[in-house]
């Protein structure tokens, strides 16, 4: 019973850490997804007196993903009824060039300001329209959640690590006799501590499996996706390949590091 209790404590602590990691991942993915949709819809307009070449502009400004010329023909066509051909030709020749700029990511206001001022410094560019005021409330709210989650995740990590360390200290007392007896007969450190490692690894695998099962069920039943879809976010709640790898990695890493620390701090009875 005692043994089951001590196993449960470590599994519960590891489960909490992994659960928090997954929640953080979902939030991070939802923000990335939302940023991507904002980025796709975000553009800047550049007005230039001469034609701009996309290659040199992109190499000079890494934030710029593409530079596409906006044709003025649509506007000119509207004037065909009221103006003669000569006047339209003169108008066409005197019009500046309009370009639509797409960006690599959804920019922060400072990035927009910096890019605008650098572009305006170019000789041919007369004006840059930025629309930096379109940062919306949902995005800011998501960023706020992310920050709060980071703080909570850190606090949970610290507290659960302390709990795990305490739990392992109890294990050490439980296994101390056996480790001392084995040492008396010349067992090397690895053989003496094999049981501790076996238990730590077993508990790590159980905790990771429970978290994967929990999020696998949530993902398979589509319980969370509609809430995100309501705010136009399409997020992967659970990615079987990468998330499994991350969770098993974290659980095994933490438990083996803690078991190693216990073993290294173990002192032989004199």
């Amino acid at each position: 019973m005692k043994s089951i209790k001590s196993h449960f404590s470590l599994i519960a602590a590891l489960f909490t850490i992994l659960f928090t990691v997954q929640v953080y991942q979902i939030l991070d993915r939802s923000i990335s997804s939302y940023e991507e949709s904002l980025r796709a819809n975000y553009s800047m307009v550049v007005i230039s007196t001469s034609a701009l070449d996309e290659g040199p502009i992109k190499s000079k400004f890494p934030l710029i993903r593409s530079l596409v010329e906006i044709s003025p023909e649509k506007v000119i066509k509207r004037l065909e009824k009221d103006m003669d051909k000569t006047s339209l030709g003169l108008l066409r020749a005197s019009l500046p060039k309009f370009y639509k700029l797409s960006l690599e990511h959804y920019p922060q206001p400072e990035e927009v300001d910096m890019l605008s001022s650098k572009l305006t410094n170019l000789k041919s560019i007369k004006q840059v329209e930025s629309f930096s005021q379109t940062h919306d409330q949902i995005y800011k709210l998501l960023l706020l959640y992310k920050g709060v989650t980071q703080i909570f995740a850190f606090a949970i990590f610290v507290v659960t690590m302390l709990l795990i360390a305490k739990e392992m200290r109890i294990w050490q007392f439980q296994h101390q006799d056996r480790m001392n007896i084995m040492a008396l007969f010349g067992a090397p450190m690895m053989l003496r501590s094999a049981v501790l490692f076996r238990l730590a690894i077993m508990d790590a695998l159980i905790a990771a499996s429970l978290v994967l099962a929990a999020f696998g069920i949530i993902s398979a039943n589509g319980w969370a996706e509609p809430y995100f879809a309501d705010i136009n976010i399409h997020v992967t709640i659970f990615n079987y390949a990468t998330d499994s790898f991350i969770h098993f990695g974290i659980a095994l890493g933490l438990s083996t590091i803690l078991a190693s620390m216990l073993i290294l701090t173990h002192k032989e009875e004199v």
Partner: protein, 223 residues
């Protein structure tokens, strides 16, 4: 005969710097049966601890089985302990393991094959008359039986030395005699060096033995 234990000007003390054994010189030859006696707190168990490397010499020299114990590395210490059998007053059996696995411990550590180990364990448990108990756990046995298991474990890997710390301290007369017989058998039949720390030397001893006595931190041989 070869000196299997050699101490020169040996001084032993714990962390509090109180000297337990003070500049003592002695040696024990291969195949000897040795009793170490002395009053409670005289340093008998401390001396035994130093012989299996749990307490390094503070000053002087100490070698066991040709291995010098001054500043010994953990690798060398493990090597030495794989050639020493130890018996304690409180048996020091692993209570979560069966009797069979407890006796097998030194063989597991020394890397013996499982089938060879099983044969050896069966032989030893038959020798100590516990072959019918091999699936039991230590706490299911009496004190005398547990000490016989500890004896079988100490003999399992054919050690060059057996160190016994008050091996009959917790036992009744009958069980004590069984243990003395086993220790004598190890010395006479297997030619193993046996060093026993005890308060009383049994009157029934049949082997010739050496007797060291510890008093006021000094070790001297009693003729």
């Amino acid at each position: 005969m070869d000196k299997v234990i050699f101490a020169k000007d040996l001084t032993l003390s714990y962390n509090n710097n109180e000297t337990i054994i003070n500049q003592s010189t002695f040696d024990i030859s291969s195949g000897d049966f040795v009793f170490i006696t002395g009053a409670s707190g005289s340093g008998k168990s401390t001396l035994l601890k130093s012989l299996y490397g749990a307490l390094p010499p503070k000053k002087g020299e100490l070698s066991v089985g040709g291995v010098t114990l001054n500043n010994i590395s953990s690798k060398k210490l493990n090597f030495l302990r794989r050639h020493v059998g130890i018996v304690f007053q409180d048996y020091k059996l692993i209570k979560e393991w069966t009797i069979e696995k407890n006796v097998m411990l030194p063989l597991i550590i020394s890397g013996y094959a499982k089938d060879i180990s099983e044969v050896q364990v069966q032989k030893l448990l038959t020798h100590v008359k516990l072959n019918h108990q091999l699936g039991k756990y230590p706490l299911e046995l009496s004190g005398g039986e547990q000490q016989r298991v500890a004896m079988a474990r100490a003999l399992a890997h054919n050690p060059i030395i057996i160190l016994a710390d008050e091996p009959t301290g917790n036992l009744d007369d009958y069980s004590s005699q069984v243990i003395w017989n086993l220790l004598e058998g190890a010395c006479t039949q297997l030619k193993t060096t046996v060093v026993v720390v005890t308060h009383h030397i049994p009157e029934t001893m049949k082997v010739d033995y050496k007797h060291f006595h510890i008093e006021y931190g000094s070790i001297y041989e009693v003729n």
